[in-house]
Symmetry: C2
Subunit: 401 residues, 2 copies
C-alpha cells in the first residue's frame, strides 16, 4: 500500500541530527549568520554544486571532501560573505571553517561540508566566523532547524523550510529541508544553498541517484534572472543506519525527496528578488523532452516575457518570439498558447475569439500557467518563471552599495 508523504513541522527536527544558527557579526544587520548541522553518526551524504567555472573556495573544498568519503558528519555555513574570488587565502579560510566545525562537534574536518553565501570578493572576517562556529557548536539541538534556516539567508525576505513524514520499507522516515536564495536563481544551482536532513536508510549510490533525479524538475527548472553563482550547493544527509533500502524503497525516497525539493523551490521563487508573479511555463507536445525543456527555459528567462509578466500584459507575441529564440526546430504554424485557461493562440496566430481581458485578469494573479503547445510530439517540460520588476532592478542596482 502506497502512502503519500505528509507535511510535518520543520522545527520538530529529524532523528539523528542536531542544528544551530547564531549571530556572529558577519552581517551588518545583526541577524543570524553562522549555521551548523551535525549528524550524530556519519551519515550518507550527496551534494550537487554550481556549474559556474568560477567556484568559491567552500564549494571546491566540499567537493574534495565528498569525493573522498560518502559518509560525513555535518555542514557549516556562513552567510553575509561568499568567500568567493578570494584566492589562496579563501581556501585557507574555508579549511579553517571545517577545522573549527569539526572541533565544535567532535568530528574530523574531512567529515564536514562548508558553504558560504553573500558578497563576493571580500575576505571572511575569520575571528567572527570562528567565534560563531564555536557558539553554534554549543547551541546544537534537535529542534534547532528554525535557527539554522534563518542563519543561511542573505537578501531573502523570510526563512524557507519544509518537512515531510512518510513510510519507506515499512519504516517511518522524516525529510527536513531549508533553502535560501533570492537573485541569481537558475538551473545548475545558482546562489541557492539548500540542505536536507533525512532519517531514511539509503546507500551512497541510491542517495546520489535520488538527489540528481529530484533536482532536475525542481531546483534545475526555476529561473529568476538567468545567472548562476559561484557558491551554489545542495546537500542531502541521510542518518538511517539500516543499510540500503529496497529498490521500491529507493523509488519512494526519490519521490519524497522530489516533493520536498519542489516545495522548497516554489518557496524560493515566491521569495525571489522583486517577485510578484510566479508563472509555470509548460511546453507540451514537443518532439523531445530536451527540446521542451530548452524552450521552456528560453521563455522563462526572456526579459521581454518577464517584463510583460510584471505588467500583467498578455503580450503573446513576445512569448512566441521567445519560443522561436530557443534554437530548436519548431513549426510556427502549429504553435498554440494558453494563458491560464484562456486559449490565446492557435496555429501560430491569435484566435479571433481571444478574450484579452480574461487573459489580463489571469496575469494579475500571483500564480498561473502559460502552456505552449508545439503540436509536434508527445514530450513536455515545465519551468518556473517570474516577473522582472522595478523591485528587481532596485535591489540589484544597490546590493553592494
Amino acid at each position: 500500500m502506497k502512502r503519500r508523504p505528509e507535511a510535518s513541522d520543520p522545527t520538530a527536527g529529524c532523528p539523528g541530527f542536531r542544528f544551530a544558527g547564531v549571530a556572529a557579526g558577519i552581517k551588518k544587520n545583526g541577524n543570524r549568520d553562522v549555521a551548523l548541522m551535525v549528524a550524530d553518526e556519519p551519515a550518507v551524504t550527496s551534494a550537487v554544486f554550481t556549474q559556474n567555472r568560477v567556484k568559491a573556495a567552500p564549494v571546491r573544498l566540499s567537493a574534495q571532501h565528498l569525493a573522498r568519503r560518502k559518509r560525513l558528519r555535518g555542514v557549516v555555513i556562513n552567510s553575509g560573505n561568499a568567500n568567493a574570488c578570494t584566492g589562496a587565502q579563501g581556501m585557507r579560510d574555508a579549511k579553517d571553517m571545517a577545522v573549527r566545525a569539526a572541533a565544535a562537534t567532535g568530528a574530523s574536518s574531512a567529515e564536514m561540508l562548508v558553504a558560504s553565501t553573500g558578497v563576493i570578493g571580500a575576505r571572511l572576517p575569520m575571528a567572527a566566523v570562528r567565534a560563531g562556529i564555536a557558539a553554534a557548536g554549543a547551541e546544537l539541538r534537535p529542534d534547532g532547524f528554525g535557527d539554522f534556516a534563518e542563519a543561511i539567508l542573505t537578501t531573502d525576505k523570510r526563512a524557507k523550510l519544509a518537512a515531510l513524514r512518510t513510510r519507506i520499507d515499512g519504516q517511518p522516515v522524516t525529510l527536513l529541508g531549508c533553502t535560501k536564495g533570492a537573485g541569481m536563481i537558475m538551473p545548475n544551482m545558482a546562489t541557492t544553498l539548500t540542505f536536507v536532513a533525512t532519517s531514511a536508510s539509503v546507500s551512497p549510490a541510491q542517495l546520489t541517484a535520488a538527489t540528481r533525479r529530484a533536482v532536475a524538475p525542481t531546483f534545475n527548472a526555476i529561473a529568476v534572472d538567468g545567472d548562476t553563482s559561484t557558491n551554489d550547493t545542495l546537500a542531502v544527509m541521510a542518518s538511517g543506519q539500516r543499510g540500503a533500502a529496497t529498490a521500491a524503497g529507493a523509488q519512494a525516497f526519490t519521490e519524497a525527496l522530489t516533493e520536498l525539493l519542489s516545495n522548497l523551490a516554489q518557496q524560493l521563487m515566491t521569495d525571489g528578488e522583486g517577485v510578484h508573479h510566479v508563472v509555470s511555463i509548460e511546453v507540451v507536445r514537443a518532439a523531445s523532452a530536451a527540446t521542451a525543456a530548452r524552450i521552456a527555459q528560453r521563455v522563462a528567462v526572456s526579459p521581454l516575457v518577464k517584463t510583460a509578466i510584471a505588467g500583467a500584459d498578455p503580450n503573446w507575441g513576445r512569448i512566441l518570439c521567445a519560443v522561436g529564440n530557443a534554437g530548436v526546430a519548431i513549426d510556427p504554424d502549429r504553435l498554440a498558447l494558453t494563458i491560464g485557461s484562456v486559449p490565446t493562440v492557435s496555429r501560430g496566430a491569435v484566435r479571433s475569439t481571444w478574450d484579452e481581458a480574461a487573459a489580463r485578469a489571469v496575469m494579475q494573479t500571483p500564480r498561473y500557467r502559460i502552456v505552449v503547445d508545439l503540436g509536434l510530439g508527445g514530450h513536455k517540460a515545465r519551468y518556473l518563471a517570474c516577473d522582472l520588476s522595478h523591485d528587481y532592478v532596485s535591489i540589484n542596482a544597490s546590493y553592494r552599495s
Copy 2:
C-alpha cells in the same frame, strides 16, 4: 595610398537612390510610418535576417525574393505593426505591400524587399498601408533619407543615420545608412531594421561577403536585452554600375561598411530602451576568438551585471561570476579585470590596492570599457552592453497597454 572614409551629411543622399517617408496613420501618434527606398536601376543587394524560428511574413517574403535574384530595385517598410504571427493573411499582406511598392516605383514586385516593425500579432491596416505606399512613391527624392529614417522608427527616441564618403578603386563612393530598434537587440539581428545604400561597385558575392563580415563585429556584437525578434532585417543595396571591384577595392568596401555599421550599432545602443550607460565588454588573451566572444556575450547579457551597471556599482564579483557562466574552460586564478583604466582584479582576486571610488566614478560615465583578461592565449572579442534600468522595465511592462 589609403584614405580613411570621411563622415558626410546623410541627408545629402547617395547617387542612384531616392527615398521617402510618410505618415499613413498606422502609428497612433501620427508620426511617419511608411518608408520607401528605390534604386534607379537594379542594384546588387544582400541582406541578413533574424535567426528566430518564428519569422514574420515580410522576412520570409524578402528572403524568397533575394534567393531568386541578387539585383533588386528597392525596399518598402512600415512601422507600427510587425505583421508577425499573422498566419496566411500576413503573407498575403506582405505580398500586397511588394505589389503596391512596385506599382509606385515602376519596378516588379519580385524586385522589392519588404520589412515591418511594431506590434506582433495584429493584422496590418492595409488600406492605410496602401495609401501610404502610394504617397511615398509620389514623394521619392534623392534627399529624402531623413524622412525615410524617421518612418522606420518605433519606440526609438530619435532617428539614427550615418553617411561615409571614401574612394574605392580610385572612384568616389558614398555609403548611407540608418537603423532603428530599441528593445530586443541581440546578435542575429534582433528587432532592428537597418538599411544601407551605397554607390559602390561590387559583385553579389562580394556584397554578401562584405555584409557578413561587417555585421559580425557590429550588429552581431551588441545586446540590450538578449531577445531576438521575428522581424530583423539588415539590407545593403549597391548602385555601382561598373561591375565587380578589385580585391583591394572589395576589402576597402568591407572596411567602410564595417565602419558605417559600427557607427549605427553604437547609435542603436545609446538609444536603447532605458539605456543610460553603453559599456564595451572586451575579453582579451582568450584561447580562441569564439570563446572570447562567448564570454563577452555572457557578461553583456547578465542581468546582475546590467543592474550593477545601472547602479554604477563596481561589483567585479558579478562580472567574474558571469565569466564563469559562459560554459567556457577558463582558469579562475588567472582572471584579471579592469574597469575603465582602474585595475580591479588580478589572479582571480581583487587587488589590495584597488581604488573602488575611481572604479565607481568610471561607472558613473555614460561610456566606458570593462576589460576581462583571461591570461590564456592571444584572442579577443568585444561586445557592447548596457544597463538594465527602471526605465527598461517601465517601457517594456507597458508597451502594448
